[in-house]
């Protein structure tokens, strides 16, 4: 067990994948010589060489499309999109090419590629550098979407994503790159599609993913002081998401609050709520509440952004409401 930062955990998974599998290659803007804008890929060029670790020009559409072509031709590319907001430039390659190739070619090929991209706010990066757009990708058949919230999950899920034969959108969170957490070195992969119970509880289920799990946990601890025991689930993967785990918890607590940093409307929480309002209907003793960002672009000013981002108070209020 060592303590490593989230960014380092990602780096370790990349390093091990490059070491273990010669078909893994890494490219993106400033990922090689400079070690990445957030330092995530530091040292990988020196260790694995120019053939396999490459800086690219600012051409998101083509580097993503090239990853698809490379994946169809025997490589396992891991590509970095510097901010999730820039995935807007890579949508054709992701949605029309990577996601559909296996299906539309009759199962002839797989597209083993990983697109890493950080989402999220909290660093006053403004409306074009803070978005959480994962709901888009979760709506696209053929893509898998993973959003780890701890260093250990980042490490284990990235190893699984790189080993996975299908295209995986791997969503990091720029605000927690320096967050430390325990990590068993040499630990194996973490299965894609499985949620984790972060905290057991009997009164209400709080479902979340990514960095927001910390907020959920903080809310649960605070609620515990007033005698409310919340069960906190970290989805880890949002496509496919662990429906069974959410339903099991709901069957036990009968109340559901969903939290994510993304804008609430049409976000990932909508699918979870909708599904539980179907298969979990008989278990529900209260309305399903969602906590997320209001329907507006992420504002720049500190004071605005802190009101924009969902926080512990918002979760506590929602929990109290479903328990009222």
């Amino acid at each position: 067990m060592t303590e490593v930062r989230y960014a380092k955990a990602v780096n370790m998974a990349l390093d091990e994948a490059l070491t273990e599998d010669p078909s893994v290659i890494l490219f993106g803007e400033d990922v090689a010589h400079a070690g990445g804008p957030f330092g995530v890929t530091r040292g990988l060029l020196d260790k694995h060489g120019e053939l396999r670790v490459r800086d690219t020009p600012i051409s998101e559409a083509t580097i993503t499309g090239a990853a698809v072509g490379a994946a169809m031709s025997g490589l396992k590319p891991v590509v970095e999109i510097m901010f999730m907001d820039f995935a807007t430039l890579a949508m054709d390659a992701m949605v029309n090419q990577a996601a559909k190739a296996r299906f539309m070619f009759g199962g002839q090929c797989s597209v083993p590629m990983v697109l890493r991209m950080p989402h999220g706010g909290g660093v006053n990066a403004g409306p074009q550098h803070s978005q959480c757009l994962e709901a888009w990708f979760a709506h696209v058949p053929g893509l898998k979407v993973v959003v780890p919230g701890t260093p250990a999950d980042a490490y284990g899920l990235l190893k699984a994503a790189i080993a996975d034969p299908d295209p995986v959108v791997f969503v990091e969170n720029k605000a927690i790159y320096s967050l430390k957490g325990e990590l068993e070195t040499g630990e194996g992969e973490i299965e894609i599609g499985k949620a984790r119970t972060v905290r057991a509880g009997r009164d209400v289920t709080i479902v979340s993913y990514g960095a927001a799990v910390r907020t959920a946990l903080a809310a649960a601890e605070a609620l515990s002081d007033s005698g409310i025991e919340a069960e906190v689930l970290d989805l880890r993967t949002i496509q496919p998401w662990d429906e069974a785990a959410v339903l099991a918890s709901l069957s036990h607590t009968h109340r559901l609050v969903i939290l994510h940093e993304a804008v609430t409307a049409f976000g990932v929480g909508a699918e979870i709520a909708a599904r539980m309002a179907d298969i979990g209907f008989d278990e529900l003793d209260a309305p399903i509440l969602r906590v997320g960002a209001p329907f507006m672009p992420a504002p720049f000013a500190k004071s605005l952004e802190s009101q924009f981002l969902p926080d512990t108070e918002d979760v506590i209020t929602a929990v109290k409401q479903v328990l009222a």
């Binding site: 499309g65 072509g69 190739a101 070619f105 299965e191």
Partner: protein, 329 residues
């Protein structure tokens, strides 16, 4: 710049090979046109009739493990790269035994076993795929190259520029083939693109050539040189083939937007007619030519029969192929 001309050194036996390949594409598409009109082929189909010399000439310069990314007008690319004829018809007729299980149809014919990475419904989208495939060749040190086929209309998409840049910076083994047929759907190139693909290539230091795309031997000669250069580590290469689209943009397009004179002039550019002339001058035996015609006709008939005999695709099997591995299950 003058167009590349072949030196006419191709032996007679090879001539018949070129002819057979072109005729196969021509006859296959001719049959697709009637099948489409008869309602046996659903969806949209885009025929490359008149452009057979490009697909045949370029692919003749390739090796089996070279890879190719195509566009919406990809029948010629697919057949010439080696996609098996019956599986091709079965696919376009939407059958389970189709090369892609009937899930993609005309716009998505692919065959990984012959390096055909797929036709593509998104204009320009095949270009980055070919770049990635070339990257794979480079990293795996295979001595293979990748080819991107695209039309003059695709020149306007930004990925072309990005791909030229990336391929040039990384010296990738790739051959970019622009099939300039003068039209993007219903618009002439002059209203669509204000530059020239070879001028652009030059700005990136990418060598290029252009040819009469209706002459298969010229195309083959130029493509062979450029493919050799790409294979030999000289980085990306560009080939512009000036050619003609005979049919509408898609089947069913009445082409009202083309001048009568242009349409009636198309016959003189026909690559098959031209090639038959050449075979005559080179004294290829009529009997041998007829044998090719018979063989092709027979193969096409058989393929159509196979297509008709194919079964309807199984929905559950299709659905199970969205992912290779279903996570969380």
């Amino acid at each position: 710049m003058t167009p590349v001309k072949s030196d006419n050194s191709v032996p007679k036996s090879r001539l018949l090979e070129f002819y057979e390949r072109m005729l196969l594409v021509r006859e296959a598409e001719g049959r697709l046109a009637t099948l489409f009109a008869d309602g046996e082929v659903p969806g949209f189909i885009h025929l490359s009739i008149g452009q057979e010399a490009v697909s045949v000439g370029v692919t003749a310069a390739l090796e089996q493990d070279d890879t190719l990314a195509s566009n919406h007008r990809g029948h010629g690319h697919a057949l010439s790269k080696g996609v098996e004829l019956n599986s091709f018809f079965l696919e376009i007729m939407g059958k389970e035994e189709g090369r892609c299980g009937g899930r993609g149809g005309s716009m998505h014919v692919a065959d990984m076993s012959v390096g055909m990475l797929g036709a593509n419904g998104i204009v320009g989208a095949g270009i980055p795929l070919a770049v990635g495939s070339a990257l794979a060749h480079q990293v795996q040190k295979t001595k293979n190259i990748a080819v991107a086929f695209f039309g003059d209309g695709a020149l306007a998409e930004g990925v072309l520029h990005e791909a030229f840049n990336l391929a040039a910076l990384w010296k990738l083994p790739i051959l970019f083939v622009c099939e300039n047929n003068g039209w993007s759907e219903f618009s002439p190139t002059v209203r669509q693109f204000g530059a020239n693909v070879r001028e652009l290539a030059k700005a990136f230091g990418i060598p290029s050539a252009f040819v009469d795309g209706d002459d298969v031997l010229d195309v083959y000669a130029a493509a062979s040189d450029l493919a050799d250069a790409a294979r030999g580590g000289k980085g990306p290469q560009v080939l512009e083939c000036v050619t003609h689209r005979v049919r509408g943009h898609f089947e069913g397009d009445p082409q009202k937007y083309r001048a009568e004179a242009e349409l009636s002039g198309l016959a003189e550019h026909d690559p098959l007619v031209k090639f038959e002339g050449l075979m005559g001058r080179r004294r290829v035996a009529k009997k041998e030519i007829q044998a090719v015609r018979d063989r092709v006709a027979e193969r096409i008939s058989a393929a159509v029969e196979a297509g008709r005999a194919g079964s309807l695709p199984d929905f559950d099997r299709a659905r199970a192929d969205v992912y290779t591995v279903l996570a969380g299950h």
